[in-house]
Symmetry: C2
Subunit: 125 residues, 2 copies
């Protein structure tokens, strides 16, 4: 079995590739007890999370990750991931910095997203 760092980084690659090309397919990564905080809005469960993610104001988006850090979140195989990066949306000339943390939990041979918190980051000065 791959180590937490490899799994976390592969997950992140798959997550943003799916987000940017086939957003509805993200549903496979959430469960009914999954939580999403997207900016100030909190949602729970696959259906509500997908509704949120597929109805964001931008339809075309490209994520570029700058850093992906992973740690084991517990002794049952959970993985904590912190991503920093930039996203470019349609109609925006400049990329925006974002940060996202995922708490992945194992389920059989795979993983799902239990916690997901997303924030845009504005320049400090």
């Amino acid at each position: 079995m791959a180590d937490f760092d490899t799994i976390g980084k592969e997950f992140v690659k798959f997550y943003y590739a799916t987000f940017d090309s086939a957003r509805p397919n993200l549903s496979a990564l959430y469960r009914d007890n999954s939580m999403l905080t997207f900016e100030t809005q909190q949602t729970m469960g696959t259906a509500a999370i997908l509704e949120k993610l597929t109805n964001l104001p931008f339809q075309n988006v490209e994520h570029k990750t700058d850093t992906v850090d992973c740690q084991p979140a517990d002794e049952q195989g959970g993985i904590l991931v912190l991503v920093t990066g930039a996203l470019m949306t349609e109609g925006e000339q400049r990329p925006m910095s974002f940060v996202q943390t995922f708490h992945l939990k194992p389920e059989g041979q795979t993983y799902f997203v239990f916690n997901d918190i997303f924030r845009l980051v504005y320049p400090a000065a």
Copy 2:
């Protein structure tokens, strides 16, 4: 018992107040199985984490938090926290954006930091 959001936000307030005024006291918040990723460097255990945090290149620092988002991390009382903010260090004219995620675990009537990942965030454009 207070809810996860109140606990997470109080923790963050206490953490940065301690960091900025009495950094060695942060040791009370870590345990021997705690993990810290500070930029690219990984450490584990109270002693190694404190050595890292007390030997950062800056001695005087002030954290300002912009956003603090919390979610329950499991059914045992764990809390996931994502912080975005700015920090001002001695000798630097401009604040730097940072992001930090904490995974807090309950221990009796209190909490300790199990996971801690810190990254500076550079402007996307």
